[in-house]
């Protein structure tokens, strides 16, 4: 192969060729070499290698077009449909643009959906409640996650990687299953009540399932890794000698925590809070499975509007407003990250 280029070979290519004879089979370069025996692969790789510029263009175009087509375009369609009217048809909404006499395009911008979101208290209460539930859950996650992250950085060095893995592992396991696991614990005849009743702590089973409390527990549990990882990263960089110096000078541990440790970890605290708050705001599965009928959250409202009421224009409007609400924390987070990079 490559006979034609034999004499014009550049030194690096020559080196690679010579080393490939004794290169371990199974490595990627060896695999690449073996594949070269197949004409289509050879042509493709030669075509790509031969034309640096067009390959670059091709490389940029593929993922770019994909995202334009399947991320940006769908979103513009949501925006469009949010301005149309509900209709009993297939699909269930009216057209935004209409040809009149084949000359004019008539644009019917229907603002009723947005007006309804503003006027019907159900919707803005759902938005406010989502912010409240996400906010409280974020604080609770900080309260649970901080000691854990702190404990991890105090653990012996050779434990830390394993502990880190243990924090990340639940993130890989199914979200749905982790939420489901709590149903068996929290329900009326569940394991928590069973334990507390047997211990004699309570004599009436607690009602936790299908309340906001269950939703808090679910969110804290599901998003805890997002809180712990940035906290751990910021706490690990801390120099122990600072605390030792403070102790030598007679500073009490609690005071030195607030004076030294917490300020050092503040970036981790903020990052962790954003990483929990943002996904919790639009959460659907947790309020739906653990929350009750009184648990209003906007993700649930959107789902019901779409699947139960089949009001596509209204659910599109709900989605647009939810995104506008999300833009605030997301932009704030981005700004903060950029500032950190500069500092």
């Amino acid at each position: 192969m490559n006979q034609k280029h034999q004499d014009t070979k550049a030194p690096a290519v020559e080196y690679l060729d010579s080393s490939s004879t004794d290169s371990v089979p199974g490595t990627l370069e060896g695999f690449h070499k073996q594949l070269q025996l197949l004409p289509p692969y050879r042509w493709l790789s030669q075509a790509i290698a031969g034309s640096g510029i067009s390959a670059r263009g091709l490389l940029i175009a593929t993922p770019y077009l994909w995202l334009l087509l399947f991320f940006l375009a769908p979103f513009l369609i949501v925006l469009k449909i949010s301005f149309s009217e509900y209709a009993i048809a297939q699909p269930p909404y009216t057209a935004l643009f209409e040809w009149v006499d084949d000359i004019y395009i008539q644009v019917k911008l229907n603002l009723e959906n947005y007006q309804l979101l503003y006027e019907d208290s159900l919707y803005w209460r759902a938005y406010l409640n989502s912010v409240k539930i996400a906010g409280i859950s974020t604080l609770l996650a900080l309260l649970v996650g901080y000691p854990l992250a702190y404990g991890m950085t105090r653990a012996p060095r050779h434990w830390r990687l394993a502990l880190l893995m243990l924090v990340i592992l639940p993130f890989w396991t199914s979200f749905l299953i982790r939420v489901y696991a709590w149903i068996g614990i929290l329900k009326k005849e569940g394991l928590l009540n069973l334990l507390l009743l047997n211990l004699g702590v309570i004599d009436q089973p607690l009602t936790v399932m299908n309340t906001d409390i269950a939703v808090y527990i679910g969110i804290v549990y599901s998003y805890l890794p997002f809180m712990v990882l940035p906290l751990y990263a910021s706490l690990e960089k801390m120099d122990d000698s600072l605390l030792e110096a403070a102790a030598d000078l007679g500073c009490r541990p609690i005071k030195s925590f607030w004076q030294i440790t917490f300020p050092i970890s503040i970036h981790g605290v903020i990052a962790g809070c954003f990483l929990v708050f943002i996904p919790a705001l639009g959460e659907f599965v947790i309020p739906d499975l653990l929350g009750g009928s009184g648990t209003l959250m906007i993700g649930k409202t959107l789902w019901a509007e779409f699947f139960s009421n089949r009001d596509w224009p209204l659910s599109s409007a709900v989605a647009v407003v939810l995104l506008l609400i999300l833009v605030v924390p997301i932009v704030a987070f981005q700004k903060m990250q950029e500032k950190d990079k500069v500092a």
Binding site: A12, L28, W66, P91, L176
Partner: protein, 273 residues
Amino acid sequence: MNKGLSWFTWSALIVGFSFLYLPIILLILFSFNESKLVTVWGGFSTKWYVELFNNQGLMNAAWVTLKVAFVSSTVATLLGTMSGVMLTRFGSFRGRTLFSGMIYAPLVMPEVITGLSLLLMFVAISWDRGFATVTIAHITFSMCYVAVVVQSRLATFDHSIEEAAMDLGCPPGRTFFAITLPIILPAVVSGWLLSFTLSLDDLVIASFTTGPGATTLPMKIYSQVRLGVTPEINAVSTILVGLVAVGVLVASVISRRSEANRLRDERLAVAET
């Protein structure tokens, strides 16, 4: 001061990790429960696993889910790796800001919105929903995760190795396969695994974008969970958790070994000069 662990550290670690793991452990434990009642221990039994494999609906859904996950994670890894390389190595190209925006936005986008928007588009172009549409939806959000993972790996290794190869006349495509790809391979592999588990796990986006005949396992689990806790679902969950745990462990062993190999090679290279 740092002799041994203080009581505070111990209790923080024990409480924190029990909170993270106890629910999963209980779930696994009760999947081996003889009794139909989930909270009453009726002795050890594997009958729910047997029942599970006889449940045709669940098995079909599992098969659909595995197919979707495999195809979508493979395509997503390809597109995501390309995107990661573009973002770190191509300097500024036209529309770069828009592109990086489109890479990061799906990561923070609520699933209900992603699902809704894709569905509305598939309806608008009257594309019948089913296996293909779910797969496309999963590729779209997974490739962004892969891009971020690959990008962070590319950002940490020395660009001058690639420049050296190209200075010596190695064409860019070849440089990528000979130098760049082997170095970022651990990131590519973990990107693939991440996409696979994300796809395996997704309920919301699949519910929006799927059609008749392409019900995924999470959708099946969800509809049963709404009716209550069953030992059968515990058994499915246990299998899924087990698969993921084994996958993550294998991946971490592979990545640690490849890292060790790379360090050894680098040391050898330095010693030879």
